[in-house]
Subunit: 333 residues, 2 copies
Amino acid sequence: MSDTVVLDVDSARQLVVSTLERHDTSPANAASVADALVAAERDGQKGHGLSRVPSYAAQAASGKVDGRAIPVLVDEKPAAARIDACRGFAFPAADLAVDWLAARATDSGIASAAIFRSHHFGQAGYHVERLAARGLVALAFANSPKAIAPWGGRSGVFGTNPVAFAAPRASADPLVVDLSLSKVARGKILVAAEAGEPIPGDWALDADGHPTTDAPTALGGTMVPMGDAKGAALVLMVEVLAAALTGANLGFEASSFFDADGDSPGVGQLLIAFDPATFSGGAFPERLETLVGAMLSQDGVRLPGSRRLESRARVAAEGLAVPKSLLDRIIGL
Amino acid sequence: MSDTVVLDVDSARQLVVSTLERHDTSPANAASVADALVAAERDGQKGHGLSRVPSYAAQAASGKVDGRAIPVLVDEKPAAARIDACRGFAFPAADLAVDWLAARATDSGIASAAIFRSHHFGQAGYHVERLAARGLVALAFANSPKAIAPWGGRSGVFGTNPVAFAAPRASADPLVVDLSLSKVARGKILVAAEAGEPIPGDWALDADGHPTTDAPTALGGTMVPMGDAKGAALVLMVEVLAAALTGANLGFEASSFFDADGDSPGVGQLLIAFDPATFSGGAFPERLETLVGAMLSQDGVRLPGSRRLESRARVAAEGLAVPKSLLDRIIGL
């Protein structure tokens, strides 16, 4: 691609840190955000990567996000933590949650952390993968601004609400599942709208709750959940776990993750970490490898997250290819 | 319907208890199984209700299921329990798990119980609803005999793997989500095969991994997961949580839940209970009612589980309508 610039990971990270520091963000928070965004960019999850820097910087500058917030552990029980992100970025609060969970899960068997007054969770797999790297099986649920209507309804109530899961493997990278519960990413509809092209009829609903193939109409309506009615029930489940259980803003109450207007989105996240030795009596590594072996013995089967690991390996060898237009925009901030 | 007999719930329960007791099942286990099967029948979940009695009795008689097994808490940490169902029915082990979780979740904030060497979990919502009735938010994951292929593959590895979720409400029945991760129930394909009718092309794959509309061919192949590739990733996640994490048999290792041949299916289940006051700082009841209110303010929207509650109310007023052929079969055992 002629319009990309190749950066090494450290330079990209330093660029994000310095940009955020110039936009009312503390050095510690800038470092946490930069780690997460660069990890997403490296994994090929560009929607959660460097493309977020301009809007993150604008939100910190406007005060929609408090770039200097220090997340607070406001309450804890032996296996549960309640973390106030204090209207800051999600990543510093998630870092606190990951450390707390890693310290507690083995002694308790399981531990869970709720995060509220939070912001965009980024690549949800990033958080659970860090717990798997510490030997824990992990789940994460997050809510996001309204995009999906309740089944049978017309107006957005729930976010696209990611679910992420990771499990440590003895001699391989952790197994990671990371998906949002809309049938397709909203970004795909934006691309079709910009190109003036129609979309498949099962991606989105218009403002009256009817299927539409017109991308601009779809952007004014709602996203279809993956798995239709069953998926809509899962979206509700994640909204309850990530927002109602954490005491956070619900999807339909949350402001945008993109613009710099208004108050913090104030969404929530829930992380859970399991000590596999406790639950399995020591059988977990063998059980997981037996399962993975049965999957991979079939032609055409790949593990979830394979593409992400390939992107990671490619970046390690070749560096990050970043669109020049995005890089110019970030440097110009 | 002319071929149904109306029973009151107590009589149906007593019929199940006495049938199982005549088939090598202890009185305590027969009572636990009867409670669960009658609850499913009452809720209109007939596939998990009285229709199971003949095959349960045959499995207890053949020794495939140990009807006299006493589930054992083999290991525990402050927030985690490991329960051996000892090749018995799942329900006595689930009863032990529910009691253990209800005793621990409030003190720890969260608690989780793994069950292994287990059997058919029945209506998964039954277990989490009982936790919600004790004021806890609950999740359950179970695996089941192979029915779904890994995405891109041809052979069944995973079960249809139910996910269930329940949340207590201040002035209403608990919110319950209960779904299996296949696009449709395998029973629908059985019905089409018996009727000699084709099935929609997106329900099942043949033994070569290709979509089929021929019901008998589908029965020799695999079920399509809800949500296609994303759903297949969720099926894997549930298989890891319910079977690998619990040290249980994987779906492709498990014997049938229906016939009386061979060893116990030996599948696994994972239950998780959250104390909502701990996680939400007390905000949970208001947050959940605000969410439910936003959903129900839209025409055409119903909560998941509404049909189940309607069936329950109808049975309370009118009794259980049981097919006479099934009743004759049970009485004749």
